[in-house]
Amino acid sequence: MIYSVLYSAILLSSIGVVAAVVLFIVSKKFYVYENPKISEVEDVLPSANCGGCGSPGCRAFAERLVGSEDISELFCPVGGNDVMKQVADILGKEVAEKDPTVAVVRCQGGCEVRPKTTEYQGPKSCAISALIYSGETDCQFGCLGDGDCVNVCQFDAMYMDDNGLPVVITDKCTSCGACVDACPRNIIEMRPRNKRDLKVFVGCLNEDKGGIARKACNVACIGCSKCEDVCPKDAISMNNNLAYIDAELCTLCRKCVDVCPTHSIIETNFPPKKVKTPKPEEETVAVVKTEAKVESVNNETNA
């Protein structure tokens, strides 16, 4: 009886000893030196592993940060300036500072305004259907509606609305840029995000001539140039029958929004306009202008 107890005790402890020795030898023999700063930097990074920085994950990005001489080109869009500042403190290197951005969807062609002329059958993926043809509607620039952007978003910051269009939840968007890459139509763009998330941008990419574009979609940009004419800051440029608003120059005055005949220019998060009577409208515009100025001043000070 006692022997069996003893026997098992000895056996177990000897297995333990042998295993310990083997583990010890292996850990010494196969030890790989690693810069401790990599782990330190990794701890600071947001651990989202989204790939927004261009590296396959936060660890890989940390290795790149530690390994590269000049890291001013590298940026973690999710962590933003705060994280990059901490990285800079750890590594003692210069980092670039970037204005925060947010993804916007530049297509308003939902089911109601952009009639479907064909029916697509096949895998529900924009990338695959884009290989076969230009989409279910007559607009070959607009959203395909199969939600590749929503599928790649790791932060649940996008969803498809009832109209079949993707919507960005601004608060959740980390501007990792995955959706931008996923969209075969380049509909999603990263635009600067200011404090109250005020944005003015053209919600259309249709380069067709006005009549054709309008026939395909009620809210298409028809290339009439009215917005270009009205813009006081020359922020709007016309290319291939399509307006584009340069966010750097735009002061968010919203004059273009008012003149657009097809309502293809989108404004977000502005306070609702007071109805009619020209005077108060001027006021609001003025208010917005001052706000915008304050905003841009803020941005400048940040920069």
């Binding site: 096949g122 695959i128 043809y133 230009s134 070959q140």
Partner: protein, 442 residues
């Protein structure tokens, strides 16, 4: 035992409804829409302006490089505009719109070209003529023909194979052409043999076209260098690589061209176009198109001007029948569904297939039951189920190492899958990504 390729293949319902219908000539359309990208490679460059008068057969877009092709005006008329038109790719592409001049006599006369057997042209001129005449592979791949004929010295080509297989169901354009223009095709073959110094030519025809085999055998009786091979009916025998394997047993190496095994393959339609170009200096401005569908009463084969809107063709056979849900440019296995009937006929249009409601819809895909049918039917020895899985999961490099790029997109896997899985859709997507990755690497 008839010859065929050894591995894979399927045998879809043949449905050759129009094989007994002689080729009719379509009336000259009022307006033609001539896309500048009708071939594989660089699009042609437009050399006419709006309001220019053009002659029938005049070059309107010049070859944009080596792998490119001239495009000629199919009618005499006026260029009304240079516009973006949805073509067979499903996207808007640059197009030359030409309004036919109804008074011009050259539009009215029906060209008559008596058989001309004597080949007077020199070798160099022949090749130049083929290149100038805008001839591309008329089987559907639309690969510029002069590129295939441009032999490097180190490539020893000893076989010319003529593709009269027409393995796609429904299509009968090549079949009718072989029946009606057999002599011309033989002369065309002789032209190519002269130009390339080849002494052996084989015409491959599937055994469901017995009449064509007989006619061509008779036409080729004088020339013992030209043989006619009857082949077992199996799809995709019309694919170059499968056809070479079936007829002379040589296997084009992975990623290689038929030239690498000393073979050049041309479609019978291309051969006829070459005959026209060399003997009568006629550029490629028309082709045979099969307009077919189970519900079309007047389905037939037509000589059609390049650029004719498919609408006109459909009118010619009595309009779209009720319940039409799909219009395919090409055959049912490899053709492309088109968005509307405004799409013009291009050099690659071998047929227009109208599919009705009950056959147009795809079935809902189910789980893969790993039956391996896709593996058995793949003529290239690939594993479509695996490739689809890898593409679906974004493992493109793995897919590349599983030879996704050798897929010939014949569609046999999707055709046979009992779970109705969109195998080819994913493989095609995987190919496009791998292609991008490869170009990025280089």
């Amino acid at each position: 035992m008839l010859k065929t390729f050894p591995k894979g293949g399927v045998h879809p319902e043949e449905n050759k409804l129009t094989s007994s219908k002689a080729i009719k000539r379509m009336p000259v359309p009022k307006v033609v829409y001539v896309p500048i990208a009708q071939h594989i490679g660089i699009p042609a460059e437009i050399i006419v302006n709006q309001k220019d008068k053009v002659q029938k057969g005049q070059v309107v877009a010049k070859s944009g490089g080596f792998v490119s092709s001239n495009i000629h005006s199919p009618v005499a008329g006026t260029v009304t505009k240079l516009d973006m038109i949805v073509d067979t790719s499903g996207y808007k592409k640059q197009c030359i719109v030409i309004r036919t001049d109804e008074k011009d006599e050259s539009n009215q006369e029906i060209p008559e070209f008596p058989l001309k057997k004597e080949i007077t042209m020199e070798q160099k001129d022949i090749l130049q003529h083929i290149s100038d005449s805008g001839i591309v592979g008329l089987g559907g791949a639309t690969f510029p023909s002069h590129v295939k004929l441009d032999l490097k010295n180190d490539n020893k080509v000893d076989y010319l194979i003529i593709n009269g297989v027409e393995c796609e169901p429904y299509l009968t354009a090549d079949h009718r052409l072989m029946l009606e223009k057999a002599e011309e095709i033989i002369v065309g073959i002789q032209i190519l043999m002269k130009a390339l110094h080849i002494n052996k030519a084989v015409i491959g025809i599937e055994n469901n076209k017995r009449d064509a085999i007989e006619v061509l055998k008779k036409a080729a009786a004088d020339d013992d260098r030209i043989q006619v091979a009857a082949l077992q009916v199996k799809y995709p025998q019309g694919s170059e690589k499968q056809l070479i394997k079936a007829i002379i047993g040589r296997e084009v190496p992975k990623g290689g061209l038929p030239m690498d095994v000393g073979v050049i393959v041309h479609n019978v339609g291309t051969i006829f176009a070459i005959y026209q170009a060399v003997q009568y200096d006629q550029p490629l401005t028309e082709r045979v198109v099969t307009v077919t569908g189970k519900n079309l009463e007047k389905a037939s084969n037509f000589w059609v001007k390049i650029g004719t809107p498919i609408k006109d063709l459909v009118e010619e056979v009595g309009g779209l029948p009720e319940g039409t849900r799909k219009i395919v440019n090409g055959g049912p296995m490899m053709g492309k569904a088109i968005k509307n009937t405004d799409v013009p006929v291009t050099k690659g249009t071998s047929g227009i297939l109208v599919i009705s409601e009950d056959e147009a819809s795809r079935q809902e895909p189910e789980n893969c039951i790993r039956c391996g049918k896709c593996v058995f039917v793949c003529p290239m020895g690939l594993e479509p189920h695996l490739l689809m899985n890898l593409t679906e999961k974004g493992m493109y490099e793995r897919a590349a190492s599983e030879d996704v790029m050798t897929c010939i997109e014949c569609g046999s896997c999707s055709y046979v899958c009992p779970s109705h899985r969109p195998l080819l859709d994913y493989i095609r997507f995987g190919k496009s990504i791998v292609k991008k990755l490869n170009t990025a690497k280089n």
